[in-house]
Symmetry: C2
Subunit: 353 residues, 2 copies
């Protein structure tokens, strides 16, 4: 029918599998192996269901305020969204609005090119170095904006703040977005650069270090000016994105700083142990500062290992894409999850192909 000629066709992003089988060891979507802060349970139990009949606070003040306090910024510097994907998508729509190409690494979060294409934003991917690092000199060409994750996904590689600041220094005329989904696992946040750079937007999420992927909470911190522009666009799309329960649970979880430290430290320790175990199995990988390791084995095909792990009900992530099709992205689970993985890998590597 003719109506199909008037519509937009996109190739949708394929998220990591969410198997409904509960016996799976799930190391494929960078979820946290530990539950959210215990006080979240009380929030649900005491929630006044009657008030669900009312619209939520469109300014999400409860959560915005809690984030502002946690990160020592003004509430006017905080934007919240339905996961960092919502925050980033709004940021693309708001800040990347020229005819100039935006820049991001060739190996990076797989949504960036999807959003660019969806919103008709021209883009150019900049190859990472041989060791999967960003060379800030590559980001000196004219552009309409810059975005990169730090630590990068799916490599786990962290760039120190000198690199970030060089990019900012060279690009006063572009919004520079640092996507810090994995910053809490040992990296150093670019938040300290906000005082000097009005065009810097730092994006983080509750999905990884705060164990709330299931609740969809992301946020951005930037100058008041940037956040105002972002809110203007968000209010044009949907004024009420954050529901009441989400606001209450999100604000509450930020209060328990000790629990947060304990969980992230456990994951960091498990990761460092996992690096040793993977090395002794013959894997190589860039050093990771995230809650995953991006590893390849010089003698075994990654696609094959991926399949054989799956047969053993262990899910990791694999992309059949240029430069990375010999790598597996392995989320850091509990020590028990990781032990099961190493045992399985040991067997797989011993089998004849």
């Amino acid at each position: 029918m003719g109506w199909e000629e008037n519509i937009r066709r996109v190739v949708p992003y394929t998220p990591g599998e969410q198997p409904k089988n509960e016996n799976v060891i799930k190391l494929n979507t960078n979820e946290n192996p530990y539950p959210p802060a215990p006080n979240v349970q009380k929030i649900l139990q005491n929630f006044d269901v009657d008030q669900m009949r009312l619209y939520p606070d469109p300014e999400a003040s409860l959560l915005v305020q809690a984030i502002a306090e946690t990160y020592h910024v003004q509430p006017e510097q905080v934007f919240v969204g339905v996961g960092s994907d919502d925050v980033l998508s709004m940021a693309f729509l708001t800040f990347f609005h020229s005819n100039k190409k935006i820049l991001f690494p060739d190996v990076t979060y797989s949504f960036y090119d999807v959003w660019a294409e969806l919103y008709h934003i021209p883009y150019e991917t900049i190859p990472l170095t041989e060791t999967f690092h960003i060379n800030p000199e590559d980001y000196t060409i004219p552009n309409g904006g810059i975005i990169f994750p730090n630590p990068n996904a799916p490599t786990g590689v962290f760039e120190n703040l000198d690199t970030v600041e060089k990019i900012l220094q060279n690009n006063p005329d572009s919004v520079v977005i640092v996507d810090e989904a994995y910053i809490d696992f040992g990296g150093i946040s670019s938040l300290s650069l906000l005082e000097k750079y009005e065009n810097l937007l730092v994006v983080q999420t509750f999905s990884k270090s705060r164990s709330m992927a299931g609740m969809r909470i992301g946020f951005a911190i930037g100058s008041e000016k940037l956040i105002r522009y972002l809110n203007d666009v968000k209010f044009s799309v949907n004024s009420y994105t954050m529901n009441q329960v989400t606001l209450a649970c999100g604000a509450e979880t930020l209060k328990d700083k000790a629990y947060f430290e304990t969980c992230t430290n456990k994951i960091i320790r498990t990761r460092e142990q996992a690096k040793q175990n993977l090395r002794s199995l013959g894997f190589v990988f860039p050093d990771s500062m995230s809650n995953f390791i991006f590893a390849k084995h010089p003698e075994h095909d990654a696609g094959m290992i991926f399949q054989k792990l799956k047969e053993k009900n262990i899910f990791v992530r694999y992309w059949n894409k240029p430069r990375i099709n010999q790598y597996l992205r392995i989320t850091i689970g509990t020590p028990e999850n990781m032990q099961a993985l190493f045992t399985a890998l040991e067997k797989i590597l011993q089998e004849k192909e």
Copy 2:
């Protein structure tokens, strides 16, 4: 700074006030005066908080399945989003993608032109008749898509299905969206037309008749083909929009059909009584089939009444816009809310201006 030249500037939509003062009688945002179905409380109390660490089901199967069963359609015909604003915004992005103007009424939901401008969709508004009705003959000009609410907002006027079907018959080459946010208060849904029209999308919400504005749940039902296109775009923006608690509460509330009938019938009865009371105060209004009445008083300025009600802590909605700046949109609250409103109006109308 130069970066501001590369960004998108929009005039954001201004939502109705959400006063934090609890003594307000809130008849300004078409919320339901009754709480959600009682079983929702149990869902929160028994919710397994540990699972929040995992991403939600990207296909939102639990909720999609419940909607499909409730409306006797296939799950493949159901799309869900973060309130009907999210659903409609995605529908604009997906279905209105030609260089031809889309059409909608001049007096209508105030987000339509905002989304059209945001996504650079050309549009033309078609004047409603003198009595705020849609004349289907006006929708025979070439177009890139059509959208209208039924009942219309903010007028409350319902168009019978003959009108909807005439528009569909004349527009096989456009997607036609019927925005049925207020359909459960006595109107007849266009869902029955889905069998004949592959290009029809019907959008509804849990925010009004199901008392869940605070949880942000909207949905669309259409042909499998339309829904597939819509999901492709949605998965490109954000794969995981519906959080776990929302999915569970939304699916549960659909089960209690008796409670739903009771509440909507109470609101309908209160509305019919309100029509009599408003008439006896001298107000005139198009007949409403929604949970609000769009009324003007021939002898009193609407902006003045709006202000004076506000001073008495009674909030209704007022727009200073062409054609409607002498009208107040009054949400149907409880009988007690409405009695307070009538008492206040009586006083205001007696005062000298």
